[in-house]
């Protein structure tokens, strides 16, 4: 919850306030919970709404275009084939950097990405929620959810390649 809240607000202290605020809202609203969604989905939806309004208060939250190619266009030739193909790093990522450094790297890349991408990646790939749950929590259409997932994963892959590739 704290991690998801941090997606929308800049400071740890505000994120903790949002989480606490969410629990209070849950405690007050538990009678209204009708069981149409899972308790977890309902809880996280409240959290996102609270975090978004806190983020707006902080005047940090800005709408962000999530467009852009998965891989920089300069890495393809004029026919659309790789001119600078992916470097090899999958086999030895953990040996070379270690689990802790990899986690730090991924956290850093998550921080850099647009808010909606970060929220989708956090819920889907970190917390392991299903796509329909992510859509419900973040009020996204399935198509938008897939685009944000795709952009976010592409960003993370590039960050790993930059750190682990031979030219990294």
């Amino acid at each position: 919850m704290l991690r998801l809240a941090s997606t929308f607000v800049s400071s740890r202290a505000v994120a903790e306030e949002v989480v606490q605020d969410t629990w209070l809202a849950v405690v007050r609203g538990i009678e209204r919970f009708e069981g149409r969604s899972s308790l977890r989905t309902w809880l996280l939806t409240i959290l996102v709404n609270r975090a978004r309004s806190a983020g707006t208060r902080e005047a940090r939250s800005v709408p962000i275009a999530d467009a852009g190619p998965a891989v920089d266009r300069s890495r393809f030739d004029s026919t659309g084939h790789w001119s600078s193909p992916p470097e090899h790093w999958v086999e030895d990522a953990e040996n070379r950097l270690g689990a802790a450094a990899l986690a730090t790297l991924i956290r850093g890349a998550l921080t850099d990405m647009p808010e909606r991408q970060r929220a989708v990646i956090t819920l889907h790939d970190v917390d392991g929620l299903r796509s329909d749950e992510v859509c419900e929590i973040l009020s996204l259409t399935p198509a938008n959810q897939r685009v944000l997932l795709h952009r976010g994963r592409s960003h993370l892959r590039q960050a790993l390649e930059s750190a682990l590739g031979e030219n990294g």
Binding site: E16, V90, L149
Partner: protein, 88 residues
């Protein structure tokens, strides 16, 4: 000139995440797989996507500060105390 049913690398990388999600149509999936069969670079790209997702999935929630933990414990204790007996 490429046949319209073929995709090139620049297009294939845009499909990788949807492919892993099982979100491509049958036709798109066949095109994508046919491209992979002849393209070691895009095959490597897909492996990297899988590894990226695996490594991302290993992030663990950061621990709450001790103060926040104490506050939540207190909040939870009060909530339990306020629940009518028949709901516990």
């Amino acid at each position: 000139m490429l046949l319209s049913r073929d995709i090139v690398c620049k297009q294939a990388v845009e499909l990788a995440s949807d492919y892993l999600e099982g979100a491509l149509s049958r036709r798109e999936r066949r095109r994508f797989e046919r491209h992979l069969a002849g393209c070691p670079h895009c095959t490597e790209y897909l492996r990297q996507m899988r590894e990226t997702i695996r490594l991302t999935g290993r992030l663990v929630p950061e621990d709450l500060s001790p103060q926040a933990q104490a506050e939540f414990s207190e909040l939870y204790r009060r909530w339990r105390a306020e629940l009518p007996a028949d709901e516990t």
